[in-house]
């Protein structure tokens, strides 16, 4: 498990704190949106009404400058099993899963699945937003989190397309970019983020990232043993395209189903090789020009 990022812990030396983050176990999310409200209350985020969307119980739509926690609701039919002749009781039992493991299905019943999940900034290990920010407004904190300083941000907007998740967004009436700070101010006072404190079922778990990753592995094993075959962790792998997320998730279906990119990559990952390729191309062009000019003489 590689938790180090480009600026943490090295640039902090003795002042570095253990890296913290979120493990969001969506299997126990009851869709109450306490996280959305707690976040807005604590951070005094403006309301951003979008009206009735008809998108299940989700009228928030997506993360943005005024939405730093967003609960997604997905209603879908569960495919009928191969031996479709099973009685409703057996289907329910199978859905009910195994007594022994003591863990049962989540967010599913009647052949219907209602997935609920609280989305947030991923505080990536390889954070493209950080890399592209020209003013240094975005920085890596001593906790390993990614925060944008509103008094430095000039609203250039480079970070907006850089984020593979579409988290960053500019506030229209303000111009600056705003996003989840992992409640940096609360962390400095040894408090957990507002959303984690508000979450009644402990779907949002805050803590040291190393410990959260271990806990998540255990939870996944528990669910898998109980027959929840489609449970998986998302952004818990240090070798993935963003180096693993400071905020990672346990999902019950493909990420796309939740509106998340299936294989997100740090958009600055290839900058080095892009520049190298450009440099090589420039050299080749230069060499060709030179050959043409010099050869053309005489």
């Amino acid at each position: 498990m590689k938790l180090e990022t480009s600026a943490w812990p090295d640039s902090y030396g003795a002042d570095a704190k253990p890296r913290v983050g979120f493990f969001t176990d969506t299997s126990v999310c009851i869709g109450c949106k306490a996280c959305e409200v707690a976040c807005k209350e604590w951070n005094r985020i403006p309301d951003s009404p979008k009206g009735f969307t008809g998108n299940s119980y989700d009228n928030t739509v997506d993360l943005g400058a005024n939405t730093w926690r967003h609960v997604a609701f997905v209603e879908k039919r569960v495919p009928v099993d191969a031996d479709g002749g099973a009685s409703l009781v057996e289907a329910a039992e199978r859905g009910g899963l195994v007594e022994e493991a003591g863990v049962n299905t989540y967010q599913e019943g009647d052949g219907l699945r209602w997935l609920m999940s609280s989305d947030v900034c991923k505080h990536c290990t390889h954070a493209a937003c950080l890399e592209v920010c020209p003013t240094g407004a975005l920085f890596r904190t001593e906790f390993g989190t990614v925060v944008v300083q509103e008094d430095v941000c000039n609203g250039c907007g480079y970070c907006v397309p850089a984020c593979p998740f579409g988290v960053l967004d500019r506030r229209e009436d303000d111009g600056r970019v705003w996003k989840c700070t992992l409640c940096y101010d609360r962390l400095k006072d040894d408090q957990e983020p507002a959303c984690a404190q508000a979450c009644p079922t402990n779907s949002i778990q805050f803590g040291e990232l190393a410990e959260l990753r271990a806990r998540a592995e255990g939870r996944l094993a528990q669910l898998t043993a109980a027959g929840q075959a489609d449970a998986r962790l998302y952004l818990a792998d240090s070798d993935d395209g963003i180096g693993g997320g400071g905020a990672f998730f346990l999902l019950l279906d493909d990420p796309e189903v939740y509106g998340l990119p299936p294989d997100p990559v740090d958009t600055t990952r290839d900058l080095g090789s892009i520049w190298a390729a450009a440099g090589a191309a420039a050299l080749a062009l230069g060499a060709g020009l030179a050959a043409a000019v010099l050869g053309g003489r005489g």
Binding site: I30, D47, K50, F52, T53, G54, T60, N104, W114
Partner: protein
């Protein structure tokens, strides 16, 4: 069942999730697939209003499979009691019980009594009327036994007139097939619920039922809960850890507001209000309202202590402790009765304190028309609610039916303090009181209820000072001297709590209601709360963290009575006082110490009463309760599988159709609850009953419910930007099949119509609502959250506009949870055209209005 806990009690629901993590099975029986269903192991769809058929089906299953907890039932319930030979069940009498008096539309309850006893209601009557003062024998008041146990019993429970056999026969036709026919539940799913409950009950395991207004807001509301009680008593789940029936209340302190009641017919601690004619004296009141046995045997002590709390030194033995200062209820003064009287010009003034009836009550138009007849209205709330603004901003004003100039009501809006701006208690579902400390002063003119009522009373007393009118003595002699503090002269809430908790003559605080006396030496504002200030400590303010205690968490808060966390917990031990199993050990008899002991709760039983204690013939009060009788508030100490008194509509639950239903009752010729309160008048037209001509004009079942994001009638959530944006508009939930049937577009608009009015809502087409097959035909459901009104940030039509007023006569609660309607695409017409649309429907349905 009858609840949606994850959505309405999300914080409490964490414990259900915790139980699930430990292997508990969660079942959710609900007309829709909700956020609770998403977390359940099994969701069972059910037709709204048919819960008794379902629960009766479970009782039937329990008997068919011999799954009842024999020893528990034999010793702890009245299943062994033999009934009188003249008792007739619904099976014998076409859906009625014996004693039905059609002239009075009430039951004479004599034939329901145990054999060789007399049945009496409070007030000493034999007819159980629901709507007249003082004659409601709620709980077990009206049943005095002579020997502490039913005098005629059959311990083998085989006698055909013993209660067990009567109950078995009563539910014998509630088969899985009948459940499917009435409820629309797929038989296999119903059976799965029944099986799991039976497998998970008994010595080693217990099962719990959680319900809320999905059960209470029906014409058979009280019987819904009775049906659950029968299930849980037969399975031995009451008074045991992990068992019980939990009433998830409708808002944060509604439990507190029934304990120290805002209800017209009870005094604090559920003592009945006195009746003018039948109770001319304190002693007569006690005689008629208090059974001689059980915890209620000390009614006189509780009553005298209450009177001393209220009238202090003025209350002496000579004047019967100011018993005659108490108001006498002279009729039905419940909410709907009051509004109807108001509508007829019979009420001058009205206080709406934290209540928004023009959104929250059934038939909201009737509520507004009634308010327009008042001389004056005082509204205390956080915002100018729909009720406060009815005279200038309402559907009738919008449609031109009413004009502000024509409304003579003088409206006073008094801003209220929020809960963070005052000290006080919340009492939750499990009777637990938790103190909250004021965090900041209320802004501007906002004041707490305590401040407002206290100073209003003070000013009234100042105006009346020196009066020699005997009528004024009731107010002038009150103890009305709480210390006040702060810039708003806020009465000290803890001083009030101290008065509620009770004091002895020397001023020290009582430990429990056992210390209350009937000689005027104690005072106590509420006997069930006696001891909340034990040792001079505000017990409800204790906040030892859970991590510092065992799971009972006895050092957090305080529960009434006597800080008992699981009520009737004597039942967690067998008749000999030993736990039923090691796994379910909770309270047991310690023979060495000679007292009951517990894992950490207060035993809900006299500490030193041995399990083998038998009362003598002359013993009274708690001394008349046997050592193996856990249900100490009943005069026989037993759980009532059959209720010989206390309810207006029967000793046993029976399935009756809701007032408005597309279907007929296949079980009995008696279609609807015979005792339900109907108010047929032009402002409250009903749809024709299922099967009658005209019923097909409103072919769909309508149900109302809540969302997590909003709170009750919306004054506290639709006015808050962060909540309003989460659910900004009223929407209806319909199945894809109904959408196709009626041409409804997802995300579009629909108009929902009843004989009362037509409202509009956005359309949410979802598979979480499914048609059910009922009696061979499809049943379609239209679901509507009821939070919206025409004020605030998130505005919309109110679902309760559609509903008629029709009440359960035990408690006067209206049938909000089920009615019928039609639905059509598009927005509703405005103004005159809306009235014309509704008129057209009424004509087609043959409804006179």
């Amino acid at each position: 069942m009858g609840s949606n806990m994850a959505e309405q009690h999300p914080v409490g629901f964490q414990w259900v999730m915790e139980a699930k993590e430990r292997g508990a099975k969660v079942m959710h029986v609900d007309p829709r697939f909700t956020r609770t269903s998403a977390m359940a192991d099994l969701h069972v769809p059910i037709r709204a209003g048919t819960d008794i058929a379902f629960l009766g089906g479970i009782v039937n299953h329990v008997f068919e499979h011999d799954a009842w907890f024999r020893e528990y039932v034999r010793h702890y319930t009245n299943a062994t009691a033999i009934l009188k030979p003249e008792f007739r069940d619904t099976e014998d009498a076409a859906g009625l019980f014996s004693g039905w008096n059609p002239e009075d539309e009430a039951y004479v309850i004599d034939s329901w009594a145990y054999n060789k006893t007399e049945a009496e209601t409070a007030g000493g009557k034999h007819e159980q009327e629901g709507d007249v003062s003082g004659e409601q024998a709620h709980g077990a008041h009206g049943f005095s036994l002579r020997h502490g146990r039913p005098p005629d019993t059959d311990d083998s429970m085989e006698d055909e007139r013993c209660i067990l056999q009567i109950v078995k026969r009563h539910f014998s036709r509630y088969t899985p097939e009948m459940v499917e026919e009435i409820c629309g539940c797929p038989r296999e799913k119903f059976l799965q619920v029944a099986r799991w409950m039976c497998e998970n009950s008994g010595r080693e395991r217990t099962s719990a039922i959680c319900y809320a207004v999905g059960w209470t807001q029906h014409t058979t509301g009280v019987q819904n809960i009775r049906a659950a009680s029968i299930v849980q008593l037969l399975l031995g789940n009451i008074g045991r850890p992990g068992g019980g029936i939990l009433a998830l209340r409708g808002h944060a302190n509604i439990q507190g507001s029934t304990d120290i009641p805002t209800l017209f017919n009870i005094l604090p601690g559920y003592i009945p209000m006195p009746h003018p004619q039948e109770q001319p004296s304190l002693d007569k009141f006690v005689e008629l309202n208090g059974p001689k046995n059980g915890a209620w045997g000390q009614l006189k002590a509780y009553m005298v202590s209450l009177l001393k709390a209220w009238w202090g030194a003025a209350a002496t033995e000579d004047n019967e402790y100011c018993f005659h200062h108490l108001p006498r209820i002279s009729g039905d003064h419940s909410h709907y009765a009051t509004m109807l009287k108001m509508l007829d010009g019979g009420v001058k003034g009205f206080f709406a304190v934290g209540q928004n009836p023009t959104v929250g009550s059934a038939n909201t138009k009737l509520q507004r028309l009634a308010l327009s007849k008042l001389d004056w209205l005082v509204v205390r709330d956080l915002h100018e609610t729909e009720t406060a603004a009815f005279w200038h901003d309402s559907p009738e004003i919008e449609d031109g039916e009413l004009r502000p100039e024509e409304i003579g009501t003088e409206v006073f809006f008094m801003p209220a303090a929020a809960h963070t701006e005052k000290d006080g208690n919340f009492t939750n579902t499990q009777r637990l009181l938790q103190w909250h400390h004021k965090a900041l002063e209320p802004p501007g003119d906002c004041r707490s209820e305590l401040n407002w009522v206290y100073h209003l009373g003070r000013r009234i007393r100042e105006k009346l000072a020196g009066s020699d009118d005997p009528r004024d003595r009731a107010i002038l002699e009150l103890t009305w001297d709480y210390p006040v503090k702060g810039p708003h002269e806020e009465p000290d809430a803890e001083a009030v709590l101290q008065e509620i908790g009770g004091r002895k003559a020397d001023g020290s605080f009582v430990d429990s209601y056992d210390e209350l006396a009937d000689d005027g030496s104690t005072s106590c504002g509420s006997w069930i709360h006696a001891g909340i200030y034990k040792d001079g400590v505000n017990q409800s303010a204790r906040k030892t963290p859970g991590t510092g205690q065992n799971w009972i968490a006895h050092e957090w808060g305080w529960a009434w009575p006597k800080d008992v966390r699981i009520l009737y917990n004597r039942a967690s031990a067998d008749p000999d006082g030993n736990p039923w199993s090691e796994r379910k050990r909770y309270v047991w008899w310690d023979a060495n110490e000679g007292k009951w002991t517990s894992l950490g709760d207060s035993p809900d039983f006299p500490a030193d009463k041995a399990p083998d204690y038998e009362p003598g013939r002359r013993d009274k009060g708690m001394d008349a309760i046997r050592g193996d009788a856990p249900f100490i508030v009943h005069p026989d100490g037993l759980g009532w599988v059959f209720a010989p008194s206390g309810l207006v509509d029967g000793p046993l639950p029976a399935h009756y159709e809701p007032q408005e239903s597309p279907f007929r009752n296949p079980l009995y010729p008696q279609q609807l609850s015979p005792t339900r309160q109907v108010f047929p008048r032009p402002e409250n037209p009903y749809h024709p009953p299922g099967g009658e001509p005209g019923a097909e004009v409103f072919p769909f079942v309508l149900t109302t419910y809540r969302l997590t994001e909003h709170h009750t009638a919306g004054a506290m959530s639709r006015t808050v930007a962060y909540l309003a944006e989460l659910q900004p508009e009223l929407f209806c939930e319909v199945s894809p099949i109904l959408a196709e049937l009626r041409g409804l577009e997802h995300g579009g608009w629909a108009t929902v119509v009843s004989a009362r009015t037509a409202i509009e809502a956005r359309v949410m087409v979802t598979e979480r609502v499914q048609p059910l097959e009922v009696q061979g035909r499809p049943m379609h459901l239209v679901g509507l959250p009821y939070h919206w009104g025409n004020r605030g940030l998130a505005k919309g039509d109110s679902a309760n506009e559609l509903l008629p007023v029709v009440l359960d006569n035990n408690v006067h609660i209206s049938e909000y949870k089920v009615a019928t309607c039609d639905i059509r695409p598009g927005r509703r017409p405005r103004g005159r055209e809306r009235l014309e649309l509704v008129e057209e429907y009424r004509r087609r349905a043959g409804v006179k209005a």
